[in-house]
């Protein structure tokens, strides 16, 4: 019972819109949809896999012609897509991979590679030695795990860098402020903070006050507007810029090709860039 005009409506299932990153992703997707004459139905799982499973099941029966999924969790999304796959709808994954389900294409930047780049950038900033702390994302979230993996890889090359504390700040700016403040008490000699996203990096900067960018360097991840601004101010040494708008835009473009029956790449890589004060102008607007 799909719409007569196949290709009309596409569901974009976003993991959360409480985060500027995904808001940008959605904006990119909406722009592309408008250009291509696609009706885009955005649903927000508020970071809950089960909510997303519910939304995906609903999209299988609500007249959508295809589903773009930004998985809350890669592993869980596989079976959650079952009803969509059963209904014969094409699926495009964006930002995060989907395990255990056939997708037409994955439009993503690489979190592990990005994590590695972030670690290297911080190492460069601190001159390859000294004590650092890591601010982790939501425990158990796939991006937390993947970036952590990347951090470990990246730091492996710098034996003189010591990770003295590794604590979660839930991807949240306010939490990061408190956690960093507290960590500083126990570890007054740190030279760097490696944060799994910009929100936490900005919270850390707030906690560091004048020391940020002077004797303690901070590296974030995402490339949000606030992040770029902090880079320009010299407070944030670097952020790993994903291009969420581009992720969103390309995911819709790929979906439109799939619906038109065209061939698409299995993996569509969107560049991840290390943004520092050197190149920030190219990114911020």
């Amino acid at each position: 019972n799909r719409g007569e005009d196949a290709g009309q409506k596409v569901t974009l299932a976003v993991s959360t819109l409480n985060n500027p990153f995904f808001v940008d992703l959605r904006d990119g997707a909406e722009d592309a949809a408008e250009e291509l004459g696609i009706e885009l139905d955005v649903v927000d799982a508020q970071n809950d896999s089960a909510t997303q499973a519910n939304q995906l099941a609903t999209s299988a029966s609500d007249g959508s012609a295809g589903v773009i999924v930004n998985a809350v969790d890669s592993a869980a999304a596989g079976s959650a897509l079952g009803p969509v796959v059963d209904a014969g709808l094409p699926v495009v994954a964006v930002d995060r991979a989907v395990e255990g389900a056939e997708v037409a294409s994955l439009v993503a930047s690489d979190n592990v590679a990005g994590g590695e780049q972030a670690a290297k950038a911080l190492a460069e900033a601190v001159g390859g030695k000294g004590q650092i702390v890591i601010l982790e994302g939501v425990p158990g979230a796939s991006s937390t795990n993947e970036r952590g993996e990347g951090f470990t890889k990246g730091l492996a090359e710098f034996p003189e860098i010591e990770v003295v504390a590794q604590q979660t700040a839930q991807y949240d700016r306010a939490t990061a402020l408190d956690v960093t403040t507290n960590l500083l008490e126990g570890n007054p000699d740190i030279v760097g903070v490696l944060a799994m996203n910009d929100e936490m990096a900005l919270g850390a900067i707030q906690a560091l006050g004048a020391r940020a960018g002077e004797d303690i360097h901070v590296v974030g991840f995402d490339g949000t507007e606030d992040g770029f601004a902090a880079v320009e101010d010299g407070k944030l040494y670097a952020t790993i810029a994903q291009n969420p708008e581009e992720l969103g835009r390309q995911s819709v473009e790929v979906m439109s090709k799939v619906l038109a029956g065209e061939e698409v790449e299995e993996l569509q890589n969107v560049a991840v860039d290390t943004v520092t004060v050197e190149n920030v102008e190219e990114f911020s607007d």
């Binding site: 976003v14 819109l17 649903v43 909510t51 519910n54 609500d62 969790d73 592993a75 869980a76 158990g140």
Partner: protein, 320 residues
């Protein structure tokens, strides 16, 4: 004979009186049926059935605690720990799948038992005891899983799949709902919960073992939460460390929308089911209507208030 007839008559009345949100639910369904052709379709109703199952099963158990005038904030976390330990048991530790569901249920029941003991013997307010368990159990889930999802065992995955044309979650929900209703209304466990919640002092003076009742209702709540967690993980084929985070508020809301009072002494399993359905139908309907996700939250709040409000208006009309 007359009394018996009266009795049957009364039961119908009290069913309606205790399932007031039913009116809200029906109004909601009619509105959605008018608003979108996708709502009243077989597959969509099946979806709703599956989607409501986790919260419903969790809320069935929670009904016991609330009837006994307690509150259990740990149900979401307990669901996650049960699912995780059961997945660990088979997938990571390689132990026999045959009992993996039992392992999950045991984890749930024991977690509830501990909350109940903290509250009955440690004299902690149930809010605090269960809040403490919320974070303890979530922490343990992260420890067991090392923060990574673990694939569920085949039996647990089966819980999330279909049995012929009928989804297992719906079957499980119906069966556990009937059991819960039976235990709550027909057994001494349920009666004691009502007595303790209705007037703890009177219950104590009548020789009801108040502490044991508290421990029992929390164990039941944990047991159901554990099952709910496995249902959910089974649907995802994966136990996630963040599984069911924040579900406690939805589960409590389902029980309260269903007519129970947080002051204790009142509550019905059928009401709880209606409460859970109200929440699930709202979410499903808003997805179908493609309401923007920011406004969706606003609308959900308004509809919850209205659905419960309908009940209040109806009850006022009945009283006078």
């Amino acid at each position: 004979m007359n009394a018996a007839a009266k009795q049957r008559h009364f039961d119908l009345k009290s069913f309606l009186a205790n399932n007031g949100a039913l009116v809200g639910l029906v109004v909601l369904c009619i509105a959605l049926w008018i608003a979108t052709p996708h709502f009243l379709t077989g597959p969509n109703l099946m979806n709703i059935g599956i989607q409501v199952s986790t919260i419903a099963v969790m809320a069935f158990g929670l009904t016991f605690v609330i009837v006994a005038a307690g509150i259990d904030l740990s149900v979401g976390s307990v669901a996650a720990l049960s699912a995780m330990v059961s997945a660990y048991w088979t997938t990571t530790a390689g132990l026999p799948d045959g009992v993996s569901i039992l392992v999950g249920l045991a984890v749930g029941a024991v977690s509830g038992l501990v909350t109940g003991m903290m509250s009955a013997y440690g004299k902690l307010p149930t809010f605090i005891a269960s809040l403490a368990m919320l974070t303890i159990v979530r922490g343990l889930t992260l420890v067991v899983s090392d923060g990574r999802p673990i694939s569920t065992s085949e039996s647990v995955s089966f819980l999330g799949s279909n049995l012929g044309p009928v989804p297992m979650p719906i079957i499980v929900m119906v069966v556990t709902g009937l059991i819960a209703a039976f235990v709550l209304n027909r057994t001494i466990i349920g009666k004691n919960a009502f007595a303790v919640g209705g007037n703890t002092e009177a219950a104590r003076l009548s020789g009801i073992p108040v502490k044991r009742v508290l421990v029992t209702v929390f164990a039941i709540s944990g047991l159901f939460a554990g099952l709910a967690g496995m249902l959910l993980a089974g649907r995802l084929d994966s136990a996630q460390p963040t599984l069911a985070t924040g579900y406690e508020l939805d589960a409590i809301a389902a029980v309260v929308i269903g007519g129970a009072s947080l002051a204790g002494g009142v509550g019905r399993i059928s009401g709880t089911l209606v409460g859970a359905l109200v929440l699930a139908v709202i979410r499903n309907g808003l997805n179908l209507l493609s309401v923007s996700s920011f406004w969706q939250q606003v609308v959900i709040g308004v509809v919850i208030a209205l659905a419960v409000g309908f009940d209040v208006i109806r009850r006022k009309n009945v009283r006078h």
